[in-house]
Symmetry: D2
């Protein structure tokens, strides 16, 4: 069977961040787009964690980024200037050409924000190098992520 | 009746933006956190459109910001460096102390991204000026937004 | 004579900006890196003003960006959330492969910040498409900028 | 003697950073305003290094930030997505109410960017809490920074 719906990996990418002055808005809390910057870096970190730095991936002909197609975040508690937060991220679902990522940001042990991403694997369009198109996640990538790959059903 | 669940306003805040070099990532498309910056500014623009600039609101004792508690975005088409986009934003739901905003970003007439925000009205906590707490949206604000305010049911 | 030292153009690119919540830091003033974002967009605007949008320039084989090699800014007065500022920018010096830009940001008519950039004209290195190298500013670009181009001395 | 012109400290704040996707522009190099974000965080780190986190400093009545009044940067080599850079920062000059900071960013051991800041020590204006004004750097701060403080000459 093809890497199925709702298979997920045990890989966790974890990083601590000190909240900087420039991360914060006049309310002295993290300005919400920063969380999305951090989540984006976390997804890259997941791949780096399994030996697939994005910079190397971009050398492959079958990879041109994993753009977001949908994202969502919930903010439970404000995060303030100077706080030391931790973000834990994991791929929770893998489909043929897309995957989902969850991010949990804790602050002093309390869950403060959560992020949910749906991303699509893309490659450069062979007919138009300016464009990208979705592409099945290559088997060797799945293997690195710990997804078992059986014979293709479709 | 109290400003009910799922009442919404007809106010539309619209703004055009030229996509700048610094808005884009190495894929030469808008880096996703920028959309959330733009959406944040759009929500402020809705209030400004009805004569309530956020800077003035912040002078009120019953306002200390409308922080996001949840947000979501869908990205339908990549937006490229140099594109001229339009964002239309409206408050689609008003509840006692919270409201929801929708943003539609079009690029050359095509819907390229959508944003959905749930925000809570807050005031400074009278017992701790360092903290904020949720607060019913004041009636005069509702009136400005075109929400009819009847006798309080609860 | 070759476009000389300290020739400058009369082209002025001017843009107004409303200072957004997300432009500001916890001191409720514009966080300094934002000024550099705005200055960067202004330099692009100068070229657009003379009919040379950067997106089109990037199609040329003799252009691969005009990266900063040095920049400087002076901050005279804080700029606050909600302020409406104007930025005026002009190329003040043109050399063989580089040029200098000045930006003046006023707030309610008062000079609040100044920026000074030295940028180099680059093209893609024909021997290594991953690299760029400095390149004389093409004559047709100079002409558009209003720089008189005589016979080349060197 | 009062902490003199051109006294400087031996404190060095050093931090490594992985260059993230969102730090880069379509040229796949760090977008210049990011360097200024990093430099800003570095200056805060200098104070933290000597036991003066900015968050704590902001509790003092004689501190309301050290805004930039002038800054300058030189960019020697482009810094690319995925690079691991190191930034070393130190206060190089201390005056009565201002100080200067230098930042050196190296990439694989090579100097890639330098930053120079002039910042002013401020406190809240006792006559107008919305405003700040410059203030002599307090002696205990100077002592922490390793600046010898003699009898005040002026």
């Amino acid at each position: 069977m093809r890497p199925g719906i709702d298979e997920w990996t045990m890989i966790v990418a974890r990083r601590e961040r000190r909240v900087e002055w420039g991360d914060c808005d006049p309310a002295r809390v993290v300005f919400n787009p920063r969380f999305f910057e951090w989540f984006d870096a976390q997804t890259t970190l997941i791949f780096e964690t399994v030996g697939l730095p994005k910079r190397d991936l971009l050398q492959r002909p079958d990879f041109a980024g994993f753009p977001l197609i949908e994202t969502r975040a919930r903010f439970h508690r404000a995060v303030h200037f100077g706080d030391l937060v931790a973000i834990e991220s994991r791929i929770v679902t893998v489909r043929k050409s897309s995957f989902e990522v969850e991010h949990r940001l804790t602050n002093g042990g309390e869950l403060s924000a959560e992020g949910f991403e749906t991303r699509v694997w893309t490659m450069r369009d062979p007919n138009d190098s300016e464009r990208i198109k979705s592409h099945p996640i290559p088997s060797d990538i799945l293997a690195r992520l710990g997804i078992e790959v059986g014979p293709r059903s479709a």
